[in-house]
Symmetry: C2
Subunit: 219 residues, 2 copies
Amino acid sequence: MDNELSKYEKPSVTVDTVIFSIKENDLKVLLVKRSSSPFKDKWAIPGGFVKIDQSLEDAAKFKLEEKTGVKDVYLEQLYSFGSPKRDPRGRVITVTYFALINSDNVKLKGDDAKWFSITELPQVAFDHNTILDYALKRLKWKFEYTVVAFSLLPKKFTMTQVQDLYEIVFNQKFDKRNFRKKILSLNILEEQEVMRNVSFRPPQLYSLKANIGEIVNIL
Amino acid sequence: MDNELSKYEKPSVTVDTVIFSIKENDLKVLLVKRSSSPFKDKWAIPGGFVKIDQSLEDAAKFKLEEKTGVKDVYLEQLYSFGSPKRDPRGRVITVTYFALINSDNVKLKGDDAKWFSITELPQVAFDHNTILDYALKRLKWKFEYTVVAFSLLPKKFTMTQVQDLYEIVFNQKFDKRNFRKKILSLNILEEQEVMRNVSFRPPQLYSLKANIGEIVNIL
DNA sequence: ATACCTTATTGTTTTATAGACATGAAGTCA
DNA sequence: TGACTTCATGTCTATAAAACAATAAGGTAT
């Protein structure tokens, strides 16, 4: 190793990923129970040390797949936390990510992982409450100004599903007619077939158009 | 040092700060000339290694003051870059910041530092062009939706100065009347005295009100 | 003192966007 | 065929954004 790099004592670097999903009509976040000290038996954001030849995003993806089995998800870097005292074991800088997954087909691996409603979070390890707050703010922002919400839905979805999703995240009701008008006017959706075999008026299915620029001012 | 932390080979961590300012009616960024390998004599974003007991933000502030002598500036974390190959010397993760300073009273220390117009950037070291692109995007976003622009102005300023600043950053002209109306309607400014000793109609001076929430949708 | 030069300040009309609001339509099932 | 459930839709009003040009306040030069 080169001289200049070894001149300084190096911090450890971890990646932690806040994984959001919708389950039971509620916004959930995935936490794992710590099996060892420090904060043994406390819940924590899933993460791990960055391998020396692994990019930050790869590290996040690796942990995400390890915990949830899903690969193609929305993943975005959040923020890096590096207060010298945040880990009692020594200097640990964490680069945080947040992920949105459609949890329909997710089977959690092991019973150390659990979905928590964001309204009923347990006590968490380290400074992970700060990270969760930050992630939630970012999530709301992203819902308001970008198209990421659709990563939480199946490929084909109804307008009602979209609206339900926004109402869950913002904890607020929207007028049906205005909501539909707004979303449709953005020109980001494609009509698909209508749903079959429902015992009421069959809803129109939509899919998100490919190649939408990210920022679109949704609400 | 504890066992688990020393189990993994650690990366080096640096902090790089993209420093913006307005000079000569132009948006400028501060770069420093590298004095040693790698990329010797190439220009780079000012930065340095994070000390083992120094927070990330403190590291950024320290470098910023070292280069510019200014202390109270707008400073915000940008993004962390951690591709394993970004530094030929070994694994180096960089946490980037961006800063806005009013350069009126800044005297650069040493001649290895220089202001570059963002329209005439030189070739830069490492992946610093990616970082500069990212910083510029963030800057524009911040100008559109927050009040940070005023960090580039003196404490008391005229409406024309505000408008000039926005026109420089967005490289676009705005209608005077609509611009003033918009800014004033935000209710973020306080009238100060009018300017004296100018050979034309003396402009009203304004200052930014204290305790403005950050996000206000300026444009 | 007056004409002139420079920059600052202001208001109205038009257009687009957001918000409030209630009824009929399309299926299934009994 | 009537009842039930969810889906789909249109108009009016209020607010915000955009387009647009004339006058005001000083200083300077003659």
